[in-house]
């Protein structure tokens, strides 16, 4: 791989005159049930340069793909348009098909008539019309497509796993055993995660640390694994195959390589503080490890509590492992792929550093009544290695409770807190009940639930075991818990919903099944990795069914509870799955990268004459250089292909491959050729707004068929010239949709540039006499299908309220000012529609 | 003292027509703590959120909006001393502010009546305005500390709920009224189910008196268990409920089991500010108030 990215990306390999073939997919009845396919066929035949049209039942199936290959050969097609689902679904499939038939894979374009049309509009004339125009727009772009060559980049055959819980451990072990060097990065002092804190695991009651401990040790012994614990991710740069990760190793004040793990320092230390790992129910020394099985077995001094008596230094003696002047250390590693396995946080769970804060005051008297505990606290109490040596006792008097209540769904399935089901609480409650009953057989157990969910393998058996043990399951969500001030017992008030009667249950100990929530720092890490979160706050997968482990960033994968709450077997399976996904990249010497990069024309760039450098400022990746007196140059290895510089260049000297100005202008003109005043032209960024619009279709949300959507990689690509052209052609409304500020942008800051640019241009537009609501900037995430729908509904209503006549009048009035920049740049075609070159 | 604020005083029905002693105490006390009251001429029933809204929500919204429109015209926010009226105004304002089409609907009804309505005026409960003055400021006004008086505080429902549309910081276990009671020197005694309903609302008082009385007497029993001298409220309808329920139940039992004085907050504050019981309407209660007045140190 010696050829540079620019060379390959811009080299015209096989430019051929357009001969377009259009393939209309029925998708069973998904499309054909709503749209008249014969009518679409007739229409497509009449479009410029279309020489072949064919309907398929399922274009993506083998016979459909065969048809494409056959037609390319028989009809000498040079461009292929498939009108079917979203390009986010099958663009890669069809590119391969086209390539198989000997055509450049970038000679392919998709018309999204399923997610954007048949799934979100009812059968009818306006829907049919929209489908036709979606095809017309795709053909218009396809005619101008240039062949490109994917370029290959070398792969660093190393992996990083972020998060050392049971998920990350399995990911790291699998990667290491496949022969890849793997960095396992953990925020806390030891790997192990939540599983290390549990006593037993459901449904088979294996001891948790007994089965996880050996895996933790295996990590530390595997020559391919480097555990970087007590460390934070500072930044992540680069791209698939070539990530550079900066990590901050916090100071332990103990030299890892010198520490033998003997523990003599701990004995010498006079200071104790609450151990958050033990849910603050136990204590630890100022120099210590959080728990005996900690990996790596290295001690840490907590400077918040250390009194600097230096007794530990004496105890350590000749080993000289303690260093009070240790500084945090910043390191940088290069890896080819990253697996994110950062787990979850349990509601009210103390985090390290919060030891001195009082417990959070929460639902059902938690933090206020002594004998109300969380399930995680009970895990530590019931564990023989825990602070009470395995005794579940009351905080108020140290006695064993005779009646124990469990309240399910505390914070979960609650619209006012977390809407989701936390997945594992039903099972751990039965497990904890079994354990408590095992310790103290005469304990009465009351479990208050909304629905018992025990759907895993062997789980229903376990539920039956609970019933057979005589646990009282009460369907009812308690509305109130009060404390008896004398006995410190808790009175649980609820309706027994199966009886239909209000009841009160007095218990000695109440255990809350608190919700799991995204772990601390999920937002920050997401921004560093440029991966998105779904509405629930957890990381969002690329596709809920078919790409559950992938993220929108190639080379970054998800596993375990950080993507959504899940139990141990599922997390372990995902850990191994993500390792396999990562290995598909690491096992190859090189990886192909889309050549959708920016290229600067040195002839047009004005930096040769005077200092410009706007593109340098706008590039989120610092990928552009503009030396004095020389044309700016894109360092394509760093270019991520957002197109922000392209739209920012006042000279239009920059081109984004596969999303050229000409191609997008052709789409605009095709969209607005007829009845422009009645339409909303939407520029949607690929990662957020476009995905959101796809989700609207997948969810079958209905909205008016007024929108014509043009996909750009980033909202930063949207040039004001595009908006001007839209109004010049009479557009009713223009919507620019990007990712949410401040940090959702897939390209770091393209959305900031876009928002600023569009808002600035909105003033120009308004000044020219166009109603302000006719140009809108809107942040819509991939999870916000409904917001996309509501935005289109709202804008359609506004469009109706303003009225076609007023829009025409405004456009006419604004024409001179709006057209001026286009005219100056010679962007106004002499014939009305771009398809004049025939 | 903070500067004087002026509000349109919304009376409602129960207060002026059945328990004018409450009205009197409000009219006497509020100006003394910097709250000026302007009459809201021609105001009607709020109308009652439990009954009229249960029969015809659009009629309820229109009449409520008319009262709010009168205040809007006067240029003041509405102040009320009844939780029910407060609830009606808070909900009616939210409805038209969240749904512009509902506002249009109301404006359509108002056409021909010469009424203009933009949902501009706010609605406040007088206890909200009093609490905003601040415990410290109010304490300065106390000249006759009511030391030794044990008070059972009853918040009522619509003052607090639905909490998404109320100004209070908490959603449960409120303390603001207890703080306001304790600044007078009296003790707010905690009792079981303090935040439970009085049992009057929703049309239950009118149509199902036995159920209504059951709920009220359960609250009274809980208060009597901890030995309070009076039940304190901030709602003319809760006030009516506790007075009427005691009378009715006593009659049914043919014994005077319930003799708990029912006091409105401004009466208590007025006493602590040194006003005479007569000025505050203490002499016109259904349940005699003398036993509790006797407890107050001279």
């Amino acid at each position: 791989m010696t050829e540079s990215k620019t060379d390959t990306a811009t080299k015209v390999v096989d430019f051929r005159e357009p001969r377009v073939g259009v393939f209309l997919c029925h998708c069973g009845l998904n499309i054909a049930g709503t749209l008249d396919m014969d009518d679409l066929e007739e229409y497509s035949k009449k479009l410029a340069d279309v020489v072949f049209v064919k309907q398929n039942r399922y274009t993506c199936a083998d016979p459909g793909q065969d048809e494409i290959r056959k037609a390319i050969a028989e009809h000498d097609l040079t461009r292929v348009v498939v009108a079917a689902c979203s390009p986010r679904m099958h663009e890669p499939t069809f590119r391969t098909t086209v390539k198989d038939a000997g055509l450049n894979e970038f000679y392919f374009e998709m018309a999204n008539i399923r997610e954007h049309c048949s799934w979100c509009h009812p059968k009818g004339e306006a829907t049919q019309e929209k489908a036709k125009e979606i095809i017309k727009m795709a053909v218009a772009k396809a005619r101008l497509l240039a062949p490109l060559q994917k370029f290959e980049v070398p792969v660093t055959p190393k992996a990083m796993v972020i998060g050392g819980g049971v998920t990350g451990i399995h990911s790291a072990l699998d990667l290491a055993n496949m022969g890849f060097k793997t960095y396992l990065v953990e925020r806390d002092e030891s790997i192990g995660g939540h599983m290390a804190q549990l006593d037993k695991t459901f449904p088979t009651l294996d001891c948790s640390i007994c089965i996880e401990g050996p895996k933790m040790v295996e990590c530390s012994r595997n020559p391919n694994i480097e555990i970087i614990s007590y460390a934070d991710i500072l930044s992540v740069d680069g791209y698939i195959g070539n990530f550079r990760v900066k990590i901050l190793k916090k100071a332990r004040y103990v030299i890892q390589s010198e520490c033998t793990g003997c523990g003599e320092c701990v004995e010498s230390c006079p200071i104790e503080y609450p151990n958050s790992w033990e849910q603050n129910l136990g204590t630890r020394k100022a120099i210590s490890i959080p728990f005996p099985q900690a990996v790596p077995l290295v001690f840490t001094i907590n400077m918040d509590h250390c009194i600097e008596c230096f007794m530990c230094i004496d105890a350590c003696g000749d080993r000289q492992a303690i260093n009070f002047s240790q500084e945090p250390e910043e390191i940088e590693v290069e890896v080819g792929t990253i697996v994110v396995a950062t787990g979850f946080h349990s509601m009210y769970e103390p985090i390290p550093g919060s030891e001195s804060k009082p417990a959070e005051k929460g639902y059902y008297g938690y933090g206020k009544f002594d004998n109300v505990l969380t399930a995680l606290e009970v895990e530590r109490l019931v564990c023989a290695g825990g602070p009470t040596g395995g005794e579940v006792i009351r905080r108020s008097d140290g006695k064993h409770p005779k009646r124990v209540g469990f309240i399910q769904c505390v914070g979960s399935r609650d619209i006012n807190k977390y809407e989701y089901c936390s997945n594992f609480c039903c099972m751990y409650t039965i497990k904890n009940s079994v354990l408590i009953k095992e310790h103290e057989p005469d304990t009465e157990i009351y479990i208050f639930y909304i629905d018992m969910r025990t759907s895993g393998k062997g789980y229903e058996d376990f539920y039956r075991r609970g019933r057979e043990s005589g646990f009282t399951f009460i369907k009812g969500r308690p509305y109130e818990v009060i404390e008896d001030p004398d006995t410190k017992n808790l009175i649980i008030r609820t309706e027994d919903a199966l009886l239909g009667e209000p009841i009160e249950v007095e218990v000695d100990l109440l255990i809350l099944s608190t919700a799991g929530e995204p772990s601390e720092g999920t937002n920050e890490l997401g921004s560093k990795l440029h991966i998105t979160r779904s509405g629930d706050g957890f990381f969002m997968e690329s596709h809920p069914k078919l790409k559950p482990l992938d993220t929108p960033v190639d080379g970054i994968y998800l596993a375990g509870a950080c993507q959504g709450l899940k139990d141990i077997p599922y997390s372990v399976a995902q850990g191994s799955g993500a390792a396999a996904r990562a290995a598909t990249v690491l096992s190859k010497k090189t990886v192909e990268i889309e050549p959708i990069v920016a290229v600067i024309d040195p002839e047009t760039c004005v930096n040769t004459d005077r200092k410009c450098g706007i593109c340098v400022d706008k590039c989120p990746y610092g990928a552009i250089n503009a030396l004095e007196g020389k044309a700016a140059v894109v360092n394509v290895a760093n270019c991520h292909g957002c197109g922000t510089c392209v739209a920012s260049c006042p000279q239009d000297a920059i081109t984004q491959m596969h999303f050229t100005d000409e191609q997008i202008m052709a789409q605009i003109r095709a969209a607005l050729e007829d009845k422009a005043e009645e339409k909303i032209l939407v520029f949607a960024c690929n990662w957020c707004c476009y995905s959101g619009s796809d989700l609207a279709g997948t969810s079958r949300f209905e909205y008016p068929p007024t929108a014509r959507i043009i996909r750009v990689m980033c909202s930063g690509r949207v040039d004001t010239d595009f908006v001007a052209e839209a109004y010049r052609l009479g557009a009713g409304m223009v919507l620019v949709g990007g990712c949410h500020l401040p940090t959702d942008c897939h390209y770091i800051s393209g959305n900031w540039v876009a928002k600023e640019r569009i808002e600035r241009y909105a003033k120009v537009v308004e000044g020219a006499g166009i109603s302000p609501e006719r140009l809108r900037w809107k942040e819509i995430s991939a999870a916000e299908g409904l917001i996309f729908v509501n935005t289109i509904k709202e804008m359609s209503q506004q469009l109706e309220d303003i009225g076609i006549d007023k829009i025409k009048e405004e456009n006419e009035k604004a024409r001179k000012r709006i057209e001026a920049p286009l005219r100056r740049k010679g962007l106004i075609p002499t014939v009305k529609v771009a398809e004049s070159d025939e | 003292m903070t500067e004087t604020q002026t509000y349109s005083f919304f009376l409602g029905c129960v207060m002026p027509n059945r328990f004018p002693n409450i009205e009197k105490s409000i009219r006497v006390v509020l100006p003394k703590i910097g709250i000026e009251l302007e009459e809201l001429e021609g105001a009607s029933c709020c109308p009652a959120p439990g009954v009229i809204r249960s029969f015809s929500e659009p009629t309820w919204l229109a009449i409520a909006s008319r009262n709010l429109a009168l205040a809007e015209k006067a240029g003041h926010d509405i102040i009320t001393g009844c939780n029910g009226c407060y609830g009606t105004f808070k909900e009616a304002l939210l409805e038209v502010r969240e749904h512009p089409d509902r506002l249009k609907e109301v404006q359509k009804v108002f056409k021909g009546l010469g009424l203009k309505y933009k949902a501009k005026a706010e609605a406040k409960h007088l206890i909200e305005v009093i609490y905003d003055i601040g415990i410290e400021e109010l304490t300065k006004k106390v000249t006759r500390p009511l030391t030794g008086l044990k008070v059972g505080v009853h918040y009522g429902c619509h003052l607090l709920k639905p909490s998404k549309n109320r100004p209070w910081k908490q959603t449960e276990r409120h303390t603001f009224l207890d703080e306001l009671v304790e600044l007078t020197g009296a003790e707010s005694v905690s009792y079981t189910d303090k935040f439970m309903c009085c049992g009057a609302g929703g049309g239950v008082r009118g149509s199902n008196a036995p159920v209504s009385n059951d709920i009220a007497t359960e609250k009274l029993d809980n208060m009597m268990d901890v030995g309070v001298d009076c039940v304190l409220n901030v709602c003319s309808f809760c006030h009516l409920q506790f007075e009427v329920a005691q009378a009715q139940v006593n009659k049914e039992l043919a014994e005077k089991k319930y003799q708990m004085p029912v006091i409105y907050y401004t009466q208590l504050l007025g006493l602590a500010m040194g006003l005479e019981p007569e000025e505050l309407g203490f002499h016109q209660h259904m349940i005699k108030t003398q036993p509790m007045l006797d407890k107050i140190p001279e």
Partner: protein, 214 residues
């Protein structure tokens, strides 16, 4: 130790009668849910029957009123059963359920919406009709309709007539216009009610007269 709450309404019913199954197919009224959704209960279909509402309910502690059950029946489309039940009128609208509902069903508003439907279909309790008529007649649900009330006002040192609608006939007039326009008078059968009231009064007066004569 479970105990039926101190406030339990638990009663044992013994009957020899056959208990027929609810015939959902026959009774179902799909529009009923839509009506409720439009008038105050947009989220009624979120309900997952957890019992937070019915547990919290003070009226439910003393009566057979079960909020959860009413919502269940409404969702099954059992309109007639729901609107004809006297239970519907036990809600004191305390909003405890609404505040605590984990699915934002707003049970209080749902009950009020169902009551609107019930009244429109002719299910209205006598005392409620009276209160509604008072609002139309005097612009106040609890009017200043006796001299003794005026005297009471004077006794505490207030004007005999307050400055609200009681002292302002134009205001009562406005309320009448609103209640006419909104269809409220017709809804509650105002004219018929007043006519019946008058006849009742007349009869009473005549009886008194004849008694006097005798």
């Amino acid at each position: 130790m479970i105990q039926a709450s101190a406030r339990s309404r638990c009663v044992t019913v013994t009957t020899t009668e056959e208990k027929p199954a609810v015939d959902v197919d026959d009774d179902v009224d799909l529009e009923f849910v839509e009506m409720i959704k439009k008038t105050g209960g947009p989220n009624i279909q979120n309900c997952y029957q957890c019992g937070t509402c019915s547990g919290s309910c003070p009226a439910g502690a003393f009566t057979n009123y079960l909020v959860r059950g009413i919502i269940r029946k409404a969702l099954l489309g059992l309109k007639e059963e729901v609107i004809s039940s006297p239970d519907l009128w036990f809600c004191t609208t305390c909003y405890a359920c609404t505040d605590r509902c984990p699915q934002d069903v707003k049970p209080t508003d749902v009950i009020k919406a169902i009551r609107n439907v019930a009244v429109a279909e002719g299910y209205m309790l006598g005392p409620h009709q009276k209160v509604a008529a008072k609002v139309v007649e005097a612009a106040h649900a609890v009017p200043l309709d006796k001299e003794s009330w005026q005297n009471l006002r004077v006794k505490v040192g207030l004007e005999p007539v307050p400055p609200n609608a009681s002292g302002n006939p134009w205001a009562i007039d406005e309320i009448r216009k609103i209640t006419k326009k909104s269809g409220f008078e017709k809804l509650i059968g105002y004219e018929e009610f007043m006519k019946a009231q008058k006849e009742k009064a007349k009869k009473k007066a005549e009886e008194k007269k004849s008694q006097k004569k005798e």
